[in-house]
Amino acid sequence: MKKLINKPENVEVEMLEGMEFAHGDLLRKLEGFNVLVRANKKQGKVALVSGGGSGHEPAHGGYVGTGMLDGAVAGAMFTSPTPDQVFEAVKAVDAGKGVLLVIKNYTGDVLNFEMAADMAEMEGIKVDKVVVNDDVAVMNSLYTTGRRGVAGTVFVHKIAGAMAERGAELDEVKRVAEKAIANVRTMGVALTPCTVPAAGKPGFDLAEDEMEVGLGIHGEPGTHKSKMLPADEIVDLLLGKIFEDMPMGKGDKVAVMVNGCGGTPVSELYILNRRVAGVMKEKGIEVKKTLVGNYMTSIEMQGGAISVLKLDDELEGLLNEPADTVGLKL
């Protein structure tokens, strides 16, 4: 393992401290907790808290700021944060109008955030939650814990964040968050595994000519291994899976995210996006906004994911409102 770190056990806290030094105008770290909150707390609005394991930077701390999150909780690498940390975040950001938790659908995240919600409610803070499950690689069925939450979560932060910034009530913010969740789908592919510093070795193995289709964002294996394919064919494979799940056609409008897993150069993401744009055009789908870059990473993994958010006028309006965060400025 070759990494720019000091000690594996200090990776999370040192990263957050570094972020605070770099972006003190936008965010600050809560003393003694691995929680980032807005530098300037805004009163009179619903607060949004998200988080999860570290290793997905800029998620989630990078989305703290105007128009998106109020607080982000960073667990250990790829491990959901504990309830006491989430609870601190909720207490710090609550501005009297309630707090919405945006949780990615993993057993650990859901359990820890729910425990924190119980703790907050006992203190009289109004808390509600939404669970993001945009990954179409894993079908929702009786036999799994449901679809995973992956890169599409960034769209949920954006949509719900804009609604909260307008001053809407908690139930309204929750409604648009759920609308975004219902309309966003993601599918990804990994070319290499990644290494959690504390583990010291890669999370799975892939041969030189192989890729893992439908990986999660924690280096957990996907649905199957496949031989490497040219970029255009990979896009067709990923989009095919998305369209299968959320049929779209002429007259539909969407926002697209071509997300890098951390180790893939942006040049390759643009090559993917070239094909995405081509397919959308062929189908008569109007792309209203495109994001290309590393938005929800898996440490140094090579690979990418495509997220498609189907828009109506309300979602489009919310998406186009300003955001001022480390990871997304609009």
Binding site: T82, Y106, L111, N112, T144, G216
Partner: protein, 206 residues
């Protein structure tokens, strides 16, 4: 067993988890996200630090262990193991001495707590697949009038069989569930860490 003796047992559990850190992590790497041993060790190391300041009371020790695990382990294992210890402690509140009968009460409460929080049952490739058979063996053994250390030998045998059983089934809970049939053939890290804990209890009583 009184509170002071129980604290020795807790120390041994924490040490055994540390010894098995890599083993549990390797099991998790195959069907999960490769951090179970790391997370459990982080939690039990903190428990080990706190043992000297815990009261000499089994129920209180269990509860404080549970709370420590909830706030340090993370993942799904944190709330699940934390709940198991807290519920177990709650089940024997006020008892100065703990024997097999109390152990059964504790395990019953722990299992119910885990089932409720995790919305799961046996046969889903989780920690319940070693805990539940162990509990049933313990109960049967006690009803047959056998002594405590014999009963824990039988409980661990049942838990070992439970861990073996997890190799034959598809995971339907937790992160391994995303693998579907690909999870067959691999033993469950959570069932294994529960077995590790039960084994320490067996050896402690022997």
């Amino acid at each position: 067993m009184d509170g002071q003796v129980f604290k020795k047992l807790l120390e041994e559990i924490a040490e055994k988890i540390k010894e098995n850190r890599q083993y549990l992590t390797d099991l998790d790497r195959v069907i999960g996200d490769g951090d179970h041993g790391i997370n459990m060790d982080r939690g039990f190391s903190k428990v080990l630090e706190k043992i000297p300041s815990m009261p000499d009371d089994v129920s209180m020790c269990m509860k404080q262990t549970g709370m420590t695990l909830v706030s340090t382990v993370g993942g799904a294992a944190g709330p699940l193991y934390g709940t198991a210890f807290m519920k177990a402690g709650d089940a024997i509140k006020g008892k100065e001495e703990v024997g097999v009968e109390e152990a059964i009460l504790m395990m019953d409460a722990a299992i119910k707590g885990v089932m409720k929080l995790g919305k799961s049952t046996t046969g889903e490739k989780t920690m319940l697949d070693s805990l539940v058979p162990a509990y049933e063996a313990l109960k049967e053994c006690l009803e047959a009038g056998k002594e405590a250390k014999v009963c824990f030998v039988e409980a661990v045998e049942a838990a070992e069989a439970g861990v073996e059983y997890t190799k034959t089934i598809i995971a339907t809970k937790g992160r391994a569930s995303y693998l579907g049939e690909r999870s067959i053939g691999h033993q469950d890290p959570g069932a294994t860490s529960s077995l590790v804990i039960l084994t320490v209890v067996r050896d402690f009583l022997a």
